[in-house]
């Protein structure tokens, strides 16, 4: 598979990139810090010397002007394009976002508007090639309006709906859309937060995502138990949601 990953230097994206190079996939890594990208490319090269060397290209989710040039360069490096994966995003707690409107603006913009714009850019390129896989990390936070994730969850809910719409509109044209809904995963993004039950580690989550990429599964909950947790939460009545803390 020839794949572009935006967000492969950290967390789930890093674990996913490792699994992909270890099985021989060609990768282009997109990110905002070239030094950091270099270190990740070195890591991948040391882990899988037989895999094609990963290309690195500057792309900043806060700056949509970087999307098209990065994707063009990545496509050129790979000599093709089978999948585009977006694992980058911003997170802040509800308390932090309520206290800081500028931070809220950044999180809402990056996690929804700019994520969608990046995926649109990728969608056009995949469709121009007759199809491919488009994958983004949404979140279980987008499943239901909940006290601790009102703003972050709203952005992720928007992203989830966008991916659902793409699947409806372009599946026949050959676009396989994969919406990943991770539960709580112990990465740098969630460091310092109280760890809830069913928290996952990056590598098993990456394994689930890779399986979904290969199959073109439209929705994947990971760790898998979150499918059932969210099934319950989606069906809780409003009066309960007003009372509970999660």
């Amino acid at each position: 598979m020839k794949a572009v990953i935006l967000g492969a230097t950290k967390g789930i994206g890093r674990a996913l990139a490792r699994r992909m190079v270890e099985r021989g996939d060609g990768l282009a890594l997109l990110g905002r810090d070239l030094e950091d990208l270099k270190r990740s490319a070195a890591d991948l090269a040391a882990r899988a010397p037989q895999a094609p060397a990963a290309g690195i290209f500057r792309c900043d989710l806060e700056d949509p002007a970087t999307f098209a040039p990065a994707l063009t360069a990545a496509e050129e490096h790979l000599g093709g394009l089978g999948a585009v994966v977006l694992t980058a995003g911003l997170f802040a707690t509800q308390e932090q976002l309520e206290a800081d409107p500028e931070r809220a603006r950044r999180v809402l913009t990056v996690d929804f508007a700019h994520s969608v714009l990046f995926l649109e850019e990728a969608r056009r390129r995949l469709l121009a090639r007759g199809g491919g896989t488009l994958c983004a990390l949404s979140s279980v936070a987008g499943e239901r309006g909940r006290k601790p994730v009102v703003l972050y969850g709203a952005a992720k809910a928007g992203l989830t709906r966008y991916l659902e719409g793409l699947d409806a509109r372009y599946r026949r044209a050959g676009l396989r859309v994969v919406c990943v809904k991770p539960g709580f995963v112990k990465t740098g993004m969630t460091a310092g937060l109280p760890v809830p039950p069913f928290a996952g580690e990056p590598d098993p989550v990456a394994r689930d995502i890779l399986r979904a990429l290969d199959r073109g599964a439209p929705v994947v909950y990971t760790p898998g138990v979150w499918r059932w947790v969210m099934l319950v939460i989606r069906h809780l009545p409003r009066v309960v949601m007003r009372r509970v803390g999660f």
Partner: protein, 458 residues
């Protein structure tokens, strides 16, 4: 109501505090007074000092930055685990030059403890094979600590103090180490059992004259004429013609799913388990190929085996009794152990290793002699037992291993660690304001209690 978070070492003795993880270890380390790896040190070396609410944790900073398949030189971020190194590099013919008894440790933790292994008598500690380190120093005033490289050529004092320095000289960010080329990914292992301590020790010494890897397991609860009976293990990397053509399959693992009741590992149960281990070993000995996992990391096969000790937790006591006279000192040590634990905690999993030369690390543990390690449940009498053992070790001129320690008193530590003044001099040079601290360093009087606090948000 949520209880305040607690953190513990492998011995499960908890203190208030939490760990923060990040891929960006340099930034994270600037917000903490200590960095820990995977928390496999038994005592309080990886725990925050009283009043410090957090430690930085390195396991997400785990990238390999360079690996030369010709020379075996590896440079990586400090959070890379030995398990991952082995998974990736052993099939390619490269292994860590020195391994502790678990692979669930990080490079940074290995350096901080300057670990030794079954090959100490030939390979020394891990530090001997380290080329250079990248370290984040303690902050000074308003300046976050600077990031420096140290090696045998630059900042030698910092390099030597950081090897075995338990994270108290700075946050280890990167490690460059020379790996060992192995002829096959299999071990040729042999073992024989001996009915008492004296023949066991002489067999261990004899084995080390011919074998690169040796260790002895001792039934620490056998008494009378059987006291100190045990098994001597010796091994070397198998030659390709002896080894199976296929690489070893990853070991299957089981987990202890929850905390066992504290009475589970009681004296009769431990005595029975030890006796079974001894009896099940064939009298004529064992010879054959083994996987590195079963040879080096037998306990890794049981996830969370530390839960077997129950809520009370446990400690490991490890000391080295110096040559010449290590054998006599070990016999005396077992006398004291038997008297001190007749009613108190029953020692389990006793391991003896003959050590080679002292390492370059200023607080590096091993020195020529015999190292004795044993697990002791943290029963009410544990402090008295550790005190009695420490006094025996002081009398013998030996020392203890900080990566295991949870109960040593500061006054005992000063007598056990004669190199301490030099270490403290270098520490003051690089951390004049005394920012860096651990629960252990405060307990042992290496750093004053109190210490600075860090802001809530990194």
């Amino acid at each position: 109501v949520t209880r305040p978070p607690t953190l513990s070492g492998w011995g499960r003795l908890a203190v208030p505090g939490r760990e923060l993880r990040s891929e960006d270890l340099p930034a994270l380390a600037a917000t903490a007074s200590l960095t820990r790896g995977l928390g496999r040190s038994y005592g309080d070396s990886s725990l925050p000092a009283p009043g410090h609410d957090r430690v930085a944790a390195s396991p997400l900073a785990d990238r390999i930055l360079a690996f030369d398949p010709e020379s075996g030189l590896l440079r990586a971020e400090a959070g890379l685990s030995l398990a991952e190194m082995n998974r990736l590099l052993l099939p390619r013919g490269w292994f860590t030059p020195v391994t502790p008894g678990t692979q669930l440790v990080t490079l940074g933790g290995i350096v901080a403890a300057d670990v030794h292994g079954k090959n100490h008598h030939v390979a020394g500690t891990f530090g001997r094979h380290v080329r250079s380190l990248v370290v984040r120093l303690a902050p000074r005033g308003d300046h976050p600590g600077s990031i420096v490289r140290c090696s045998r050529d630059e900042l030698l004092d910092l390099f030597r103090a950081t090897l075995g320095g338990m994270g108290l000289t700075g946050h280890v960010l990167e490690v460059e180490v020379q790996l060992e080329h192995v002829p096959s990914p299999w071990i040729w292992a042999e073992s024989d059992r001996y009915p008492a301590l004296e023949p066991l020790l002489s067999a261990l010494r004899a084995a080390s004259r011919e074998w690169p890897m040796t260790v002895a397991w001792v039934d620490a609860l056998a008494s009378g004429r059987k006291r100190g009976r045990g098994i001597v293990h010796r091994g070397r990397w198998a030659e390709p013609r002896e080894a199976p053509a296929r690489p070893p399959a990853p070991a299957r693992r089981v987990a202890v799913p929850f905390e066992a009741p504290s009475w589970l590992l009681n004296r009769p149960a431990v005595a029975l388990a030890n006796a079974l281990l001894w009896r099940r070993h064939p009298a004529r000995g064992r010879r054959g190929v083994a996987t590195p996992e079963s040879f080096f990391y037998p306990l890794d096969a049981v996830h969370y085996w530390n839960r077997l000790y129950g809520r009370r937790g446990f400690t490991q006591y490890q000391c080295v009794l110096p040559d010449p006279g290590a054998e006599e000192a070990t016999l005396r040590f077992f006398d004291v152990l038997e008297r001190a634990t007749t009613r108190g905690p029953a020692p389990f999993l006793c391991v003896i290793k003959d050590c080679g030369g002292e390492g370059e690390g200023l607080l590096s543990f091993p020195r020529p002699g015999l190292s004795v390690a044993l697990d002791l449940p943290a029963d009410p009498g544990i402090q008295d037992v550790v005190d009695a053992l420490n006094e025996t070790v002081i009398a013998a001129g030996g020392r203890i291993y900080l990566a295991k320690d949870a109960f040593t008193r500061p006054e005992h530590f000063r007598s056990l660690e004669l190199r301490l003044p030099e270490f403290e001099r270098i520490r003051r040079r690089y951390d004049p304001e005394g920012y860096l601290a651990s629960a252990q360093s405060v307990r042992l009087g290496l750093t004053p209690p109190g210490g600075p606090h860090f802001s809530e948000d990194p």
